[in-house]
């Protein structure tokens, strides 16, 4: 197992290196000179100032040299200086990555728990109204644009019935409150965005849980358990759900990239101070170094999520625990 983990981590690092190179060339392919962007942000620059900007940001060197410098700086934890904010990119991302992780994980947990619960109930009576509802709801949840859902929830639950705050992660006035007050306030602010993001995926898990439960409930060992007189709850949760967990874990891992994309839209609607809003600012300002940094960290999150999925998959399924990669 340890050897396997090490191999996977090593592989993940290689993958990230490839992603960095890919992004770097993509950004360099784009029309426009970063030096001009920097000069534009300052309100204009002369020819000499442009040359000095190019020298400051190393833009006067050949592209391959720039890539080399970028990669070697990256190994020392330096992702460069933001053109727009004029601050180290790592510092900017350091402030913004945690809200995104919080949002994504909260949404994932909500989606899996509610989705699986719905799916399990639907599977118990496959031909009931509830079961039909789960199928229809799943399709609807998938077809509604997530930002649209967000706007509707804001209007409904923050404007018409002001139950939840509409924007931000923490009430501005509480920046120096004690940790308990802060935590409660953050959870309060988290509720709407996390739920919005969860809706799309909730549908997927409900469907998946229903399908795999139906499979498992028909299997021999569950029949045996029932015949032995095991209680319904025990059958559902001890035997059936454990086996239905595998496809759910797989899909949860696969959905992670999609979740981050969804988070981008949800963060914009709810003004959540995460990487999505940072990415949006950076893209709207052609802040190339920040864009590269955000792409790097977003991919890193996906790679780590995939790794965790892989490991939990192995833990959940004893059969492949000893197998190879």
């Amino acid at each position: 197992m340890t050897a396997y983990i090490i191999r996977r981590i090593f592989y993940g690092i290689l993958l990230m290196a490839g992603v960095v190179v890919l992004n770097f060339f993509l950004i360099r392919l784009a029309p426009g000179d970063p030096a001009e962007v920097i000069a534009g942000e300052m309100g204009g620059a002369t020819k000499e100032m442009m040359d000095s900007i190019r020298a400051t940001y190393g833009l006067d060197k050949p592209v391959l040299t720039q890539l080399w410098i970028y990669l070697s700086n990256m190994l020392q934890g330096d992702l460069g200086q933001s053109y727009f904010f004029n601050r180290p990119v790592t510092e900017l991302i350091g402030l913004r990555i945690w809200p995104t992780i919080l949002l994504v994980i909260a949404a994932q947990v909500l989606a899996v728990t509610i989705g699986v619960a719905m799916g399990v109930f639907a599977a118990r009576k496959p031909n009931s109204i509830l079961s039909g509802f789960v199928t229809v709801f799943a399709t609807i949840g998938y077809a509604v644009p997530v930002f649209w859902m967000g706007i509707m929830l804001v209007i409904l639950l923050a404007s018409i019935f002001p139950v939840f705050p509409v924007q931000g992660m923490l009430d501005a006035r509480l920046h120096s409150a004690d940790w308990l007050t802060k935590t409660i306030d953050i959870l309060y602010h988290l509720a709407l965005p996390a739920f919005t993001l969860a809706i799309i995926y909730l549908a997927i898990y409900a469907r998946l849980a229903r399908a795999s439960m139906l499979d498992v409930l028909g299997a021999d060992y569950v029949r045996t358990a029932r015949a032995k007189g095991a209680s319904e709850g025990s059958v559902l949760f001890k035997h059936a759900l454990r086996n239905a967990a595998l496809p759910i874990i797989t899909v949860a891992g696969l959905q992670f990239g999609g979740l981050i994309s969804g988070a981008l839209l949800v963060e914009t609607v709810f003004n959540w101070p995460g990487m999505g809003t940072l990415a949006f600012d950076a893209i709207l300002r052609r802040d190339y170094t920040t864009i590269l940094g955000v792409l790097f960290f977003a991919s890193l999150m996906v790679v780590i999520a995939n790794l965790i999925t892989d490991l939990s998959y192995r833990l959940a399924d004893p059969r492949i625990r000893t197998g190879g990669a």
Partner: protein, 525 residues
């Protein structure tokens, strides 16, 4: 008008203002509390000395003090300078500084800092005309600074405002690093009423009361938090719910309409006199299709300024007929208005040899849609009527737009440009031949050049007599309205919405780009 007094004052032998209200705090005004200001704009950093724009100016004027400040009647008031004198010939201005001012790090504010700061602004701020005539600054003693000018400069006193002349500590910013990218721009040290607690890029700026502020009894508030909320729907709800207390620079009529209906809010259009924001359509006068003034006039006759103001802006913005904001004393009422006349427009097109119509592109600044994108889209619909087929060119981001315009890769563009108080600071730049500077946005990107205009503007820049100056500007406005390098549409309907319980809300000529030291809560929220 009080603006006259200001300029006469500038020419006077010795104008020294009595220290009035600011030093004596009003006991009825309670201290304490937090003010949350919302902004849709993301500041790059917090130092207004090297960066223009409202996003930086609002926090910068809280953190940095400046030599002078202004009341709502355009009257200069003492700030870091307790008195000031303009010499007879208008070639030197002496500032006598207060002696109890200290920076947030405890060091005293001296004339050295003032000299350093003004020269830094001169060298780095995009508004080159503000301090252009400043040759040097003498510092005979720590509390006296004498600004020496190469020519009279009536706009100087306004340029010493908090928004334009932040006084920075020389021992922090004078360490040899480039002022534009100085690390302390994001962690500024000033001598203003509030000091920086934290700055989270793109999210918030937290400022706390400066206990050692040199104006005794101020500031009233304990804390100011500036929160960036880019989605205006969320912002408005937050304002109505009381999550946010103040929202300045509202420019969208639908937003103004909404906040006016809220019970807990006061809405005002005061506080934007010095900004003078004009929304206009710019022509690339060097483009073959647009080099003939007749074509530009035809477009002007085709566009219905009143429809834009009344229907698209629901009457919240006001028409703007010339290059100087209509609320300024220098605005010339007799300027040609180009009221909509499609027949005349078609005739002019035919005269210019474009009777069969033409294709044009129009750009716009991404962001304030109601002023920019929506009008570009309106042009697409409207100019079709005189045979012009308009393609709207979206710029996904600000730098893309700025690059297109400043490198003259455009035909028509929508733009918003500020007058910044005095025409010398904000108006001249768009019309002077000498300010056709490739690569610089908000220079004369129309590439309009008329030597007569240059002559008039240089005369107006040094004219100390208010009436003569007005006459010069009237002539200038008549000429450019005929040449029409720009078609001026409307002044931005800037409004401020704030909580009703807020006292002394910023309504001076600079609005929230001014120290908020007197703002207080009438009752606890």
């Amino acid at each position: 008008m009080s603006f006259h007094t200001l300029l006469r004052g500038a020419a006077a032998v010795a104008l020294s203002a009595a220290i009035s209200a600011p030093a004596l705090a009003d006991d009825h005004e309670k201290s304490g509390g937090t003010l949350v200001i919302a902004s849709t704009q993301v500041p790059r950093h917090l130092n207004g000395a090297v960066q223009s724009g409202t996003a930086t100016a609002v926090p910068s004027t809280q953190i940095f003090a400046s030599p002078l400040r202004y009341d709502e009647n355009w009257q200069p008031q003492p700030y870091l300078a307790k008195t000031w004198e303009v010499s007879d010939d208008g070639l030197s201005v002496t500032l006598n500084l207060v002696d109890n001012a200290t920076f947030h790090d405890g060091t005293p504010v001296t004339s050295e800092d003032v000299a350093f700061s003004i020269m830094t602004v001169k060298a780095n701020h995009p508004f080159t005309s503000m301090f252009d005539p400043v040759e040097k600054i003498d510092t005979p003693d720590p509390h006296t600074a004498i600004i020496r000018l190469s020519k009279p400069h009536p706009a100087l006193l306004l340029a010493l405002s908090p928004a334009l002349a932040p006084i920075m500590p020389k021992h922090v910013y004078g360490d040899g690093q480039d002022a534009k990218s100085h690390p302390a721009n994001s962690a500024p040290v000033g001598s203003g009423p509030f000091k920086l607690v934290s700055f989270t890029q793109g999210e918030s700026v937290v400022l706390a009361k400066n206990e050692n502020f040199f104006l005794e009894g101020y500031p009233k508030l304990d804390e100011i938090i500036i929160r960036v909320i880019k989605d205006t729907n969320s912002l408005l709800i937050a304002l109505e719910n009381g999550e946010v207390d103040m929202y300045p620079f509202i420019a969208s009529s639908t937003e103004i309409g909404r906040v006016e209906k809220a019970d807990n809010l006061t809405v005002t259009r005061e506080g934007y006199a010095a900004v003078g924001a004009i929304n206009w359509l710019a022509f690339n006068t060097k483009s073959e299709k647009l080099s003939d003034p007749k074509v530009r006039q035809a477009i002007a006759y085709a566009v219905d300024r009143n429809f834009i103001v009344k229907a698209l802006h629901r009457g919240f913005s006001s028409p703007q007929r010339g290059p100087i904001i209509e609320s300024s004393p220098f605005f010339h009422d007799g300027v040609e208005a180009y009221n909509v006349d499609l027949d005349k427009a078609k005739a002019l097109m035919a005269e210019a040899g474009f009777g069969d119509g033409m294709d044009l592109t129009v750009d716009y600044i991404p962001g304030p849609a109601e002023q920019q994108k929506n009008i570009a889209e309106y042009l697409k619909s409207q100019l079709k009527k005189i045979g012009i087929n308009v393609e709207v060119r979206a710029a996904p981001d600000f730098p893309t737009w700025a690059k297109r315009i400043s490198t003259y890769d455009f035909e028509l563009t929508m733009d918003i440009v500020f007058n910044w108080g005095d025409p010398v600071i904000g108006v001249h730049r768009s019309y002077l031949c000498s300010n056709i500077r490739e690569g610089v946005i908000w220079s004369n990107t129309q590439q309009y050049c008329n030597e007569k205009v240059d002559e008039i503007l240089s005369a107006a820049a040094v004219e100390l007599d208010q009436d003569k100056r007005k006459a010069l500007y009237a002539e200038f406005q008549t000429i450019v309205a005929g040449d029409l390098p720009l078609y001026w549409i409307n002044s931005l309907p800037y409004h401020t919405a704030h909580n009703k319980k807020l006292g002394n809300a910023p309504t001076g000529i600079w609005g929230a780009m001014h120290p908020l030291d007197r703002v207080y809560w009438k009752e606890t929220k």
